[in-house]
Amino acid sequence: MAEEFEPKIMAFICKWCTSAGADLAGVSRLEYPSNVIPIQVMCSGSVSPLYVFSALSQGADGVLVSGCHPGDCHYMKGNYYARRRLALVKKLLEYIGLEPERFQMSWVSATEGVKFTQIIKDLVKELQPLGPQTKLRRN
């Protein structure tokens, strides 16, 4: 029986919304794939493009950045900056030939435990057929 490829997903999740949403999923005993390695950041706006590139360089098969919905940011504006900055990162990565599924963003609020699990499930499904990420992974 062939072993199915399990993508490793680095998720930079903001402490106030998405992380709380992920906790809610846990507390509600909602099941979702264990492929995701969560890293809690204070705000999606604090996610530097360097984190995304570094995750890919160190072998992540996919990177997710998730924060509060626009208007709900704990720091008022952080997610607006993230939206702008990471839009450019996404365009750049796709331009050099990285599959667009490998870097994604989401808005997940503290009450959206179900949404969080759905995003992870969808992400794993999208990344499985792509196989391991070798383009940016360092030797």
């Binding site: 360097l50 360089s57 626009p70 900056y81 450019l88 365009k91 750049l92 990565l93 030939g97 940016l136």
Partner: protein
């Protein structure tokens, strides 16, 4: 036509009156060099100054040196530095002003208009004239370039040898300057992003194969970063060649420095460096083309930076270097910034 004599006259006056500390312009280079930066301190030395289609360098880069010099000196001379700026260079000044890296009073700008021409691409000229070797270039009448070669003088159509960026330039006239030499003639510019259009049309895997091959050549000489006026960080976050440490830096601070990129020139490390540089230049790169010109192994860096310039315009309506008073691209946002890519 920009008058070289008028240029020299202006600079001489500024130096004699002590209005500027020194002047950065262009002079003739050695054999095989069309022009090179010149630092003029004495009024008599203005005869060295030239203005020709070989004046490709973005002299705003040397404002970094001036700033570092001032930081080191106890009682720095605070008079402005004089320099020549073409249209592209003047947009670089705007970006530096936007970011408060320099103040307007730190520079005295002599703007030159490219009129309908621009500067030449040395590789294009060399290929065009082979086997004759180009030695010097001058502006000809009627959109031609006069080239002095080792086999006599030639006259060629400017469109054949102008730098690609000049052919796509939206601002061939200085946007900020104290005086301007030459006429303001708007160049018709129907397709500003022509260089990247055909590249964007390629498939994902074709694009990857291209970049993978390109980045395997990178030597990490950092000429691209060193020549860029916008790469003025004292310590670059991607592989610094200048560590900002002093006697007061603690051991903890030194131990906690993150090494984002390794020194080795494997393609993945090279890509990391170039990606970081490209993203840090988003909304700041004015397409002066210097990074691509200086690269000894011909990396198509404009292809990378121009893409983000295009996205800045397409996604956020942002144009680089037009207004020194507007906020930088990533320190502002609009309520309706696109978010169709966000789940």
């Amino acid at each position: 036509m920009v008058s070289e004599d008028k240029l020299r006259e202006e600079v001489k006056k500024l130096l004699q009156e002590g209005k500027i500390k020194y002047f950065i312009g262009y002079e003739n280079g050695g054999p095989g060099w069309l022009a090179r930066p010149a630092f003029i301190q004495q009024p008599e030395a203005v005869s060295r100054l030239i203005w020709s289609p070989g004046c490709v360098h973005n002299l705003t880069r040397f404002l970094q040196d001036e700033k570092r010099r001032r930081a080191r000196e106890k009682n720095p001379d605070l008079r402005p530095v004089g320099l020549i700026v073409k249209g592209c260079d003047s947009r670089a000044i705007n970006v530096l002003l936007q970011e408060k890296y320099i103040e307007r009073k730190d520079v005295y700008l002599i703007g030159v208009s490219c009129e309908l021409l621009g500067v030449v691409d040395e590789a294009k000229i060399t290929r065009r004239l082979y086997p004759a070797k180009p030695l010097q270039v001058r502006f000809g009448a009627k959109e031609t370039i006069l080239v002095l070669t080792d086999q006599g003088e030639r006259e060629i159509a400017a469109s054949e040898v102008l730098a690609d960026r000049c052919l796509e330039c939206p601002a061939n006239f200085p946007l900020v300057a104290d005086i301007v030499l030459g006429e303001k003639i708007n160049r018709p510019n129907p397709q500003p992003y022509q260089s990247i259009a055909s590249f964007e049309a390629k498939s994902l895997e074709e694009r990857w194969a291209f970049w993978q091959e390109q980045f395997s050549r990178c030597l990490r000489c950092y000429a691209c970063r060193s020549v860029c006026p916008m790469c003025y960080c004292d310590e670059c976050v991607a592989d610094s060649i200048v560590y900002a440490v002093s006697a007061d830096t603690t051991a903890e601070e030194k131990a906690q420095k993150v090494k984002w990129v390794e020194r080795n020139p494997e393609p993945q490390e090279n890509i990391f460096y170039h990606l970081v540089r490209a993203i840090h230049l988003a909304g700041r790169c004015v397409d002066c083309g210097e990074c691509e010109r200086v690269c000894p192994v011909g990396l198509p860096l404009r292809l990378l930076n121009k893409k983000l310039e295009k996205e800045a315009k397409a996604l956020f309506g942002y144009e680089v270097g037009l207004d020194a008073n507007s906020p930088p691209l990533i320190s502002c946002f609009r309520d309706n910034d696109p978010q169709d890519f966000i789940r």
